[in-house]
């Protein structure tokens, strides 16, 4: 039976977050905390694979106590179990320290039930790095399959997975051994409206919470701020885009203008390495 672990994170909703103009940092209190949108697709994919091949879906997060809400959201989507590692020692972790801590948690989950597949979202919307997934794969010595937009086949007995990886101008089909780690794109699936059964389960659910002391063989120097070599030297808010051309007139005139404009700038639409569109 397939055991899938989906790694998830609670993030501030960056669509509405405000930047502090003085410090150039995110004013986290200005936005509600949500489940990282990419992670919802990761959990949904895990749930779909479970329905297809049978098995269990566990979700794992690292965060402060309120992050329980993000786990509950995953139970709503259809996950079976939730694990959370929460400890002051984890605070201030960059992607290196985060992937270390999550790896230690996955090792512990494996003792409860061996893990066949780890699925992560493409990246978080507050960090935008996409590094934690591959970081976990490296530490667990698993093949990292990034930018996955379709899981074509999984074969637990023979131990392989076939997936589509998104490329700039198409996709590639690759086969990997299992266990492996996938980080998935948004278009891999649509997260449906959760069933009442899952909603009730989530409302009642309490995840397993581990502190550092509950994990095994942990080198404390690799955790949190201490284990984070990343230095943020400068943060700035991007300039708001301005300008652009406005088309005026009625629909027919606008269409005419648009066509002329597209013809004028056709070299912008030539695919990289390809022959382009003949106009």
């Amino acid at each position: 039976m397939l055991h899938i672990v989906a790694c998830i994170k609670q993030v501030p909703d960056t669509k509405i977050i405000k930047m502090n103009p003085k410090t150039n940092t995110m004013d986290r209190a200005s936005a509600p905390a949500i489940l990282n949108p990419y992670d919802a697709h990761a959990v949904e994919e895990a749930v779909r694979l479970k329905k297809k091949y049978g098995g269990t879906v566990s979700v794992l997060t690292m965060g402060p106590p309120p992050a329980v809400k993000a786990i509950k959201k995953c139970i709503e989507i259809g996950a079976d179990e939730g694990y959370m590692i929460s400890d002051r020692a984890f605070a201030g972790a960059d992607t290196l320290a985060t992937s270390y801590a999550l790896t230690k948690a996955i090792e512990k989950i494996s003792q409860i039930k061996p893990v066949d597949l780890i699925i992560c979202g493409k990246m978080t919307i507050d960090g935008d790095t996409g590094q934690v997934g591959p970081g976990i794969a490296r530490r667990l010595d698993m093949p990292p399959l990034t930018s996955v937009n379709k899981v074509k086949e999984i074969n637990v007995e023979e131990g392989y997975a076939i997936v589509h990886r998104k490329l700039e101008d198409g996709y590639e089909v690759i086969q990997s051994t299992m266990p492996c780690l996938m980080s998935v794109e948004k278009e891999i699936n649509d997260v449906p409206y959760s069933s009442m059964t899952n909603m009730l389960k989530a409302a009642r659910y309490q995840p397993v919470i581990w502190a550092v002391a509950d994990l095994e063989d942990v080198e404390r120097t690799q955790l949190g701020l201490k284990g984070s070599p990343t230095i943020v030297s400068k943060v700035w808010a991007p300039k708001k885009p301005s300008g652009g051309e406005m088309l005026e007139g009625d629909a027919a005139q606008q269409t005419e203008q648009l066509l002329n404009l597209l013809l004028e700038k056709k070299e912008l639409f030539v695919a990289k390495g390809g022959s382009g569109v003949e106009l």
Binding site: P32, Y193, S194, S195, M196, T197, M199, L200, A203, R204
Partner: protein, 431 residues
């Protein structure tokens, strides 16, 4: 697979939450369904929470609830176009425990309050819309939600789905409300720093002011405006009966813009940044518009039961009390194992004999009266302003002369009679 609960409460506002809280505390298996992302996300009120009724549910709640400021001063401003006559009361006894009332931001407060019900054992499900009650053999036995496998069953369904309760309506408990039974309120939350608020309103830390606005705040249409102080925001809003807005062809946000630019209000909010804009309906039909509140397997509480005392801007406290009475009736029904209307009517009896029912009855004609006779708002308030201006302007004429002139300005003998009659009428509907 559909689950059965003892009680399903629809709507996590003050009525629904206090009902769930009491039931869960008594060990009843209760499910609270909220359509918003979280309790409070869709809830709106001007912002005054009364201590007494909240304390009846959670003693000493002020020690942990997310409140804004305890109110130490209440002002009433009767506004004309460029003037206002203000009366008010400020007292330090309101600034200390147990306090009188508080300003709150509902998005924060309701979330906290619902959390307390969950602590007691209530099950909370958000982001779920109840589409209708499931009725079998003339008895409500559950609800149908918009989720897959979304039918749920219960011995009693408590409808706390707010003003214009579609669920109570679909059960035939009330008709579509008329425009003179509901008010539409719009408000802005305006950000200003704490110190500026305290300076402008003459407050110390952890003190707040409420100002009710009458007359020109609503351009003479029946309604009120309000300006309340939070920690570092102000709530400024106006509300008037839908019928008045329709009659005068004024859009609610135009009224809000008008009051924001009024010379009596403008200096209070100068330099503030609007951070939220909210609008909501308020049930103001009063006693005569109350729907049937108890049926077989079903109870109606809070705004859904039209429990608002418009004259005294009270609503959330009536809602909480009704939630508690509903819980009481459910416990009685559970004890008797009889969820019929006859038993659940205990709720109605308790409600109507309490201050809730008494106040609803006392003011049963007040909104309708002021709606019928617009002169209170569009004539008498300007008259009071003019009188005050004349009396307090020092221009060399004697006070006797001034009084005579004010009385002369009321108009002909006929108009003086009308004034006396209207004063008597107003006293009658408010007494």
């Amino acid at each position: 697979m559909s689950e059965k609960f003892d009680v399903i409460v629809v709507g996590a506002g003050p009525a629904g939450i206090s009902c769930s809280y009491e039931l869960a505390k008594a060990g009843v298996n209760v499910l609270l369904i909220e359509r918003g992302e979280y309790p409070g996300s869709k809830n709106v009120m001007g912002g005054v929470l009364y201590r007494k009724m909240m304390e009846d549910v959670i003693p000493e709640f002020w020690k942990e609830a997310p409140l804004e400021r305890p109110i130490v001063e209440q002002r009433f401003m009767m506004m004309d176009k460029e003037s206002a006559v203000t009366v008010g009361y400020k007292g330090m006894e309101w600034g200390q425990e147990p306090y009188n009332n508080f300003t709150v931001l509902r998005a924060k407060f309701d979330q906290w309050f619902a959390g307390k019900a969950v602590e007691q054992g209530a099950l909370l499900v958000n982001e779920t819309v109840v589409l209708e009650c499931i009725v079998e053999n003339g008895k409500v036995v559950g609800v149908r939600t918009d989720r897959p496998d979304g039918n749920l069953y219960a011995d009693v369904v408590v409808l706390a789905d707010g003003v214009n309760s579609l669920l109570a309506k679909s059960l035939g408990f009330h008709k579509e409300f008329r425009p003179d039974e509901v008010a539409l309120a719009t408000m802005e939350i305006i950000k200003l720093d704490k110190k500026t608020i305290e300076d402008r309103f003459n407050l110390e830390e952890n003190q707040g002011t409420t100002i009710e606005l009458f007359g020109d705040a609503t351009k003479g249409i029946l309604g009120t405006g309000f300006l309340y102080t939070n920690k570092d925001t102000l709530n400024l809003g106006v509300g008037s009966l839908l019928s008045g807005l329709i009659k005068h062809k004024i859009k609610p946000y135009e009224l809000l813009e008008y009051v924001k630019n009024h010379p009596m209000i403008r200096p209070y909010i100068a330099g503030g940044e609007p951070v939220e804009y909210l609008a909501h309906m308020i049930p103001e039909g009063g006693y005569k518009s109350m729907p049937k509140v108890a049926g077989n397997g079903v109870l109606v509480v809070g705004d859904a039961a039209q429990l608002v005392n418009a004259i005294h801007r009270e609503g959330s406290n009536l809602a909480m009390k009704s939630g508690q009475f509903a819980a009481e009736a459910v416990l009685l029904a559970k004890e008797r194992d009889d969820y019929s209307e006859a038993t659940l009517n205990h709720y109605k009896t308790r409600l109507m004999s309490s201050f809730v029912g008494q106040d609803m009855k006392k003011y049963k004609d007040s909104t309708h009266h002021f709606d019928k006779f617009p002169q209170y708002f569009d004539k008498y308030i300007p008259m009071v302003n003019k009188a005050a201006s004349q009396m307090f302007t020092v221009d060399g004429s004697s006070k006797w002369e001034k009084q005579k002139k004010i009385w002369r300005d009321v108009g002909t003998a006929g108009e003086k009679f009308k004034l006396a009659r209207d004063a008597y009428r107003a006293w009658k509907v408010m007494k």
